[in-house]
Symmetry: C2
DNA sequence: GAAGAAGCGGACCGACCCGTCCGCTTCAGC
DNA sequence: GCTGAAGCGGACGGGTCGGTCCGCTTCTTC
C-alpha cells in the first residue's frame, strides 16, 4: 500500500506488520499522537524492536496510518463525483469526513502537521477532488461562497474535536449539523 | 486572584511571579500545554527552580493561567447579561469566547482536561452565566434549540483550533461566522 | 549596617521514551 | 531434516524533562 513494490515479506512478518498497523491505528485514535511505541507494540503483541524494523521512526508509522485513512476518504470522494445531486454529494462528503475524524479525532491535526511525503501527497489529492465537489455544490446553490476543501476539512475536523469532551456520545452529530447549517449560503 | 489571602511576597519574588505568569501564558499559547518548564523559566528570566517554588507542579501553573482567562470571560459574560438585546449579547459572547481562544488555541482543550479545582470551578461558574445568555437568546428567537454552554464553547473553541493551520491569518473570523450561522434557528 | 528571613537557581535524581543492536528463533526452499 | 536467510525482541544507550534540594544571594526590618 505504502510502497507498491514491497519485497514479499515472510508470512510471520506480514502477520506482524498487519497487527502493528491495526494496533497503531487504534492506539493513535485512542491516546493521541504521543502514544509510546511500547504501547503500540504491546497491543500488537510484538516487541518494540519489531515495530522499528518496519517503520524507521514513530513519525513514519503515524504517516502510514494517516495515509490509510486518507485513502479511504479519497475513494469515497471519487465515488461522490458520480453522484448527480451536487448538494447531496457534498452533504455526504461532510458526513464521510466526519466519520473518519470520529474514528480518529487526531486525524485532521495529524494530517496538517505531518510532513511525510506519503501524507502531504494524499492530502493534496484529496483537496483537489473535494474542491471539485465543493464547486459543484456551490454552483447548485447548496454551499456558500468563499470556502475551499481546507476550510471544510478544518470545520468538520473541528466539530468532531469539539465533541471529544461532550457528555453524550452522539453529540458529534449535532455539531456536524451545526456546521452543515453554517455552510449553506 | 487564585487564593484571596496570599501572604505578602517579597518585592523581587512578586516581580518574578508576575513575569512567570506572563511568560507561561505566552509559552502555553504559542507552544501548547507541553512546553517545558525550562522554556517558561527562560522566557521569564528565572531559574526553573523558581517556577516550582510558586507552583508545585506544571499542572498547577497551567491551571493558574487558564483561570486567568476564565476570569476575563466571566467578567465579560456578566456584563453581557445587562445588554438589553439578547440576540446581540449572544453574538458578542461568541466573539469574546473566540477572541480568548484566539489568544490561546489550547484554551478550550485545557479547560476541559484540567482537573484542578481552580479551573473546574471557574468553568462551572462560566457555564451558568453563559447558559443564561443562551436561554435569553433562544427566547428571543436568535439561537436554535438544544444547545447549552458546553456545546457553544466547544464549537467556538474548535473553530479557532481549526483555523490554526489556515493559510490566511484572519480565517478564524470566517470560521466563527460559519459557526454563528449554524447556531441560528 | 547587621541579622535573619525569604528567595534564588543550578546541580542532581529518577522516570520515560525513542531508536539501535545483536544473540537467538523461526521460516522457506531443497 | 538441513541450512541459510529473515525475523524477532529485549537489553541498552542517550537524551529529555519534571521535580527536589541546598549553598549562596537579596531583601527587609530594626
Amino acid at each position: 500500500m505504502a510502497s507498491p513494490v514491497t519485497t514479499a515479506l515472510r508470512a510471520d512478518a506480514q502477520r506482524n506488520l498487519d497487527r502493528i498497523l491495526v494496533a497503531a491505528a487504534d492506539a493513535f485514535a485512542e491516546l493521541g499522537p504521543d502514544v509510546t511505541i511500547d504501547e503500540i507494540a504491546r497491543r500488537a503483541g510484538v516487541g518494540h524492536g519489531t515495530v522499528f524494523r518496519r517503520f524507521p521512526t514513530k513519525e513514519a508509522l503515524r504517516a502510514a496510518v494517516l495515509r490509510r485513512r486518507l485513502d479511504e476518504l479519497l475513494e469515497r470522494s471519487r465515488a461522490l463525483l458520480a453522484e448527480p445531486d451536487a448538494g447531496a454529494a457534498f452533504v455526504e462528503l461532510v458526513w464521510a469526513a466526519a466519520e473518519s475524524c470520529r474514528r480518529d479525532r487526531y486525524l485532521f491535526e495529524g494530517v496538517e502537521t505531518c510532513g511525510e511525503l506519503e501524507v502531504t501527497e494524499g492530502k493534496q489529492e484529496l483537496h483537489e477532488i473535494v474542491d471539485k465537489l465543493i464547486r459543484r455544490a456551490r454552483r447548485a446553490g447548496a454551499v456558500r461562497a468563499g470556502l475551499d476543501a481546507r476550510d471544510v476539512g478544518a470545520l468538520v475536523g473541528a466539530a468532531i474535536q469539539a465533541a471529544a469532551h461532550a457528555e453524550r456520545d452522539e453529540d458529534w452529530r449535532r455539531y456536524v449539523q451545526v456546521v452543515l447549517a453554517g455552510l449553506r449560503p
